[in-house]
């Protein structure tokens, strides 16, 4: 196990990364009745992915999510958001809340607000996949370094 951090970090990451991911999904699911929303939840979900990449290293993390999967989900989130917006034409126009025309739900309950919940989920997918893909791409740069081993890291302290 040359890649990644020490076993303490790995076990801690193994223990808490699932809880972080569930909390991100919760933040997105209750985005229309409490603080949070699709973007905040997606960032928290991507933070779990970043934790996995940092603790276990890039090659282990790519067994869970690869850059091409991230691209796919990124595009799928944007496409689903567009689909939700276009479905509004069934009850009048672009971005019209067509679910609220059927049943409004009760203020403060989970199933209320119509398409806002669905839109938040689409944003969750897009943001989480986009951020995780961006971090994977950034972590790839170091591996491709031409002479990364013999470079002396010098902090640019003003002398």
């Amino acid at each position: 196990m040359s890649e990644g951090m020490t076993p303490i970090v790995k076990n801690t990451a193994r223990l808490i990364s699932g809880f972080i991911a569930v909390f991100g999904i919760y933040i997105a699911l209750t985005g229309h009745i409490s603080p949070g929303g699709g973007f905040a939840g997606g960032v928290i979900l991507a933070a779990a992915a970043v934790l996995i990449v940092l603790a276990f290293g890039r090659s282990t993390a790519e067994r869970i999510f690869t850059p091409s999967q991230c691209h796919l989900w990124d595009a799928a989130g944007a496409g689903l958001f567009l689909v939700v917006a276009m479905l509004g034409y069934f009850s009048g126009g672009f971005f019209v809340n067509f679910i609220a025309h059927i049943s409004k739900g009760q203020v403060g309950k989970l199933f209320s607000g119509g398409t806002i919940l669905v839109s938040n989920l689409c944003i969750l997918i897009k943001v989480a996949a986009g951020l995780a893909g961006a971090f994977l791409a950034l972590s790839a740069f170091r591996r491709q370094g031409v002479d990364a081993a013999d470079i002396v890291v010098e902090g640019g302290q003003a002398a």
Partner: protein
């Protein structure tokens, strides 16, 4: 109370400006730019903040979320302005994209020159 936080936002902005102007390390310059970004976000949220009169005494405004059994008029009387908060959310997203771009450029520079010191990143190389 909010005057103190305005001063805090200005102090964070000055600290970020100092890091951008005086430091030579590219990572520190990026962190300085981010500090300025967050100082501006904090100031924009503070613009929408207000104190409300509730039960005869002045209190801080509530978050603009409609609670159960509350009319919109009741909420509008007690909540802070939600518009700057929505704008700051956009600003945070833009800052995130900017961060990713700057970090990617910094990594490319490090690969090319083997240093983060801007004094040594001068000549064309390779």
């Amino acid at each position: 109370m909010s005057t103190g936080i305005y001063i805090l936002a200005f102090a964070v902005l000055l600290a970020g400006l100092y890091a951008m102007v005086a430091k030579k390390n590219i990572v520190k310059i990026i962190v300085g730019l981010l500090a300025i970004d967050y100082a501006l976000n904090l100031m924009l949220v503070l613009v929408g903040y207000r104190e409300v009169v509730r039960a005869g005494c002045r209190e801080s405004g509530l978050p603009p979320i409609l609670a159960e059994g509350q009319t919109p008029a009741q909420l509008a009387a007690m909540a802070v302005d939600p518009l700057p908060q929505a704008m700051v959310l956009t600003s945070i997203v833009i800052g995130l994209g900017l961060t990713a771009l700057m970090v990617a450029m910094g990594i490319r520079l490090y690969e090319r020159y083997g240093t983060f010191d801007t004094n040594r990143i001068r000549r064309l190389r390779g």
